[in-house]
């Protein structure tokens, strides 16, 4: 039987973007439904989980044993040959700069915060489409535990990640070019020592179009992975990761490692969407390509985007105004002011680096950019 119920907002996807949007909207008194098709949030993991303390703080999330795998105190950036720039913030401060989180626990924790703020959460619920009504509301078509269900709402928030279909429902141009989506693979490994620092390797030889990483994961584990751009290599990410682990300057360090988990995904190193709203629809997080195009980090931007979206909805819904694309553009403008303009600037820097045809010069520029990005003086530290 198809039932109809009413909400102010239906959020599709309970990653960091969706659960934060939902929580903030509920804290502002809205009736919010948050749906996710998964049975266990964050799983299968498609993320390394590095997030700054500052990002958690801004989102009102205190670091908690439930989701923190290990604290992080700085960065090491390597060039192709292993020459390194180290920024160990333990020289300046005692508290961690950030954390590597377990996304299975982190996403559940954020969802629980939303649920405690009054959000109704439905797992195993796939959002399939919507039908608009004359009065400016829409019916969202859901499939919950395999059964069709409809909910009436005013605004749908597409927080459905990289695979976003919600934007496509609204006719938005969400397509990412192959040249701007990094194909990533990572392994959780045992028997490799790390020292509280995120280690990042630039260089076409190891990760054409992207970079390789070695992150501490706590409990004596680490994550090793990389992202590549497939328009500039014939080999897949798995081949490149093998090549890196066997032949790079890290080979000796990695040679006895044991593989505990295999994870992967796509990271948009693209510009944010030029249009992030349609009638009754706003997009946030990976769905709107809110990802840092230099580092590929998207947790911070998803949390920030969620706060901006939730706050906007808290202001907008009580006005009773019809949620047309034009009225919702105000969300996009706020996002640009608070975060988006800086992301566009990063996109231009990244595009400029990859316009460089000479591989040694491009490698050098990427290395310099990454090394300075993580310095205490970087203008982008808060993106």
């Amino acid at each position: 039987m198809v039932q109809t119920v009413e909400y102010d907002v239906v959020v599709v996807g309970s990653g960091p973007a969706g659960s934060t949007t939902a929580r903030v909207a509920a804290e502002r008194g809205l009736r919010v439904l948050l749906v996710d098709r998964r049975q266990e949030l964050g799983s299968p993991i498609q993320c390394s989980g590095a997030v700054s303390d500052n990002a958690l703080n801004e989102a009102g999330v205190r670091p908690n044993d439930e989701f923190v795998s290990t604290p992080i105190y700085g960065f090491v950036t390597y060039d192709t040959h292993g020459n390194a720039t180290t920024m160990d913030y333990r020289l300046y401060r005692e508290t961690p700069l950030g954390y590597v989180v377990d996304r299975r626990r982190f996403d559940r924790y954020l969802m629980t915060m939303a649920e405690r703020a009054g959000v109704e959460v439905w797992l195993k619920t796939d959002a399939k489409g919507y039908t608009p009504h004359e009065d400016g509301t829409v019916d969202v078509h859901l499939n919950r535990f395999g059964f069709p269900q409809q909910v009436r709402t005013r605004v749908i928030v597409g927080a459905d990640g990289l695979q976003s279909q919600v934007g496509k429902w609204g006719g938005l141009r969400t397509h990412i070019k192959l040249s701007e989506l990094a194909s990533c693979l990572q392994l959780v490994i045992d028997h490799v020592e790390t020292d509280g620092l995120l280690e990042i390797v630039a260089g076409h030889e190891w990760a054409p179009g992207g970079y390789a990483w070695l992150f501490p994961k706590g409990h004596g584990y680490a994550e090793v992975g990389l992202g590549v751009i497939r328009t500039i290599t014939d080999k897949d990410a798995r081949w490149h990761l093998d090549h890196f682990m066997q032949n790079s300057f890290m080979a000796e360090r990695l040679k006895n490692c044991r593989i505990l988990e295999v994870q992967g995904g796509g990271v948009p190193l693209a510009a944010p969407l030029k249009k992030q709203v349609a009638d009754n629809i706003i997009l946030v997080g990976d769905a709107a390509r809110h990802v840092n195009p230099i580092t590929g980090g998207g947790i911070h931007t998803a949390l920030r985007g969620g706060i901006i979206a939730g706050t906007f909805l808290g202001d907008f819904i009580p006005t009773g105004e019809r949620p047309t694309a034009e009225a919702l553009t105000c969300y996009h403008e706020r996002w640009l002011d608070e975060l988006g303009h800086a992301m566009w600037k990063l996109y231009e820097i990244k595009t400029d680096i990859f316009r460089e045809q000479s591989i040694p010069r491009r490698d050098q520029r990427l290395y310099d950019t990454l090394a300075s990005y993580f310095s205490p003086h970087s203008e982008f530290r808060k993106v």
Binding site: P44, L162, L178, S183, D236, V262, Q263, G264, G265, G266
Partner: protein, 75 residues
């Protein structure tokens, strides 16, 4: 550019790590997906850009030309 002939994708479920990258790069309208977070495998793709095959980090996707019957069933 001449239009490429429609193809049908095959996903090797043993290799697939359910990462969703193939859907992220797919230029189709909404819904060209499977319930397992990959691009559709039960219907021909008439764009045939092959971006999904390329983005896959573990080369789980392969393809074959669609048959006349499959193409006829699309419209």
């Amino acid at each position: 550019m001449p239009k490429r002939p429609p193809v049908v994708f095959y996903v090797n479920w043993n290799a697939c790590i359910k990462c969703g990258a193939c859907i992220g790069v797919c230029p189709h309208e909404a819904g060209f997906t499977t319930p397992f977070d990959t691009i559709a495998v039960d219907t021909p793709c008439d764009i045939a850009c092959m971006a999904c095959e390329k983005i896959c980090p573990v080369t789980a996707i392969t393809s074959r030309l669609a048959t006349e019957a499959e193409i006829a069933a699309m419209s």
